[in-house]
Symmetry: C2
Subunit: 162 residues, 2 copies
């Protein structure tokens, strides 16, 4: 896809996070199963539901752009998920693995915080108020999910792994 | 590398960001050259200097661990950088490309914010006060770099690209 205008770039960004969210939906159940913390697996399952809602929001943003929803390959999310797959293979201790996977989930959240933060700015610039509103809702959810993970790391997972 | 303890996991994390910082040092000059914003290229060059200092800090952390400094492949940073390489090929308009590369730089910063945030927590847990201090300094620099990029996006780059 050749990118000429900010509208093209915005669409490319939406396709990137659409692909990322779909990969995240596939990945969360595997991670929730591998961790040894009830709080963390509950938080992950809650975020799985949120992610499904975020995909629906992106589909509305595609509609606002007059485009069909479709993803483009996102090597960044593929790389972040690959690191978690590798750590599952390398880590024998269950509590240490749980700390590692929690950290991987925070890397995912931060990738999304950065991309949705940018997409909100670009939607504003394109005067697409409805997309801005939808993307801002998702951005707030990603920030809250990251905070919750920090809280679980500090109060539960890291202490048990030490 | 088999990971058994939090110390192993901490070391693995340090090797991951060490590799990432080295890739960032290689990549920044290319990005600084491709962008069409004096403010942005200056900010990137400033961050290149900071990154060199961050590598030196990591080398001290390796010393604190009694280990030789070495990187392990980090598919996450490779993926984020690959996205910027692709966008350079796909984007013809210089101002639009600048907005895209600024967003890519923020994705890099957020990856680092997440990893250094985690490494600070783990250093605390391992009672490694000196490493905690070193990693906290870098974390503060990454957060400041991200804020500066947001500022340049809002006041300069995005407006010109629209």
């Amino acid at each position: 896809m050749a990118v000429q205008t900010m509208k093209d770039l915005f669409l490319h960004g939406i396709q990137d996070v659409y692909y990322a969210e779909k990969r995240i939906v596939e990945t969360i159940p595997k991670i929730a199963k591998a961790v040894d913390s009830k709080k963390l697996s509950e938080a992950l399952e809650h975020h799985l539901e949120e992610t499904r809602g975020q995909i629906k929001r992106l589909e509305k943003v595609f509609e606002n752009c007059g485009e069909k929803a479709k993803g483009v390959e996102c090597p960044a999310i593929d790389g972040i998920i690959k690191e978690s797959d590798e750590i599952i293979k390398e880590t024998k201790d269950k509590q240490v693995l749980t700390a590692a996977l929690l950290a991987g989930a925070q890397a995912v959240e931060h990738y999304e915080i950065s991309r949705y933060g940018t997409l909100c700015e670009w939607a504003k610039l394109l005067d697409d108020d409805d997309s801005y509103k939808l993307l801002s809702e998702t951005l707030a959810e990603e920030k809250a999910a990251d905070k919750k993970l920090t809280d679980i790391a500090q109060k539960d997972v890291n202490r048990k792994a030490a």
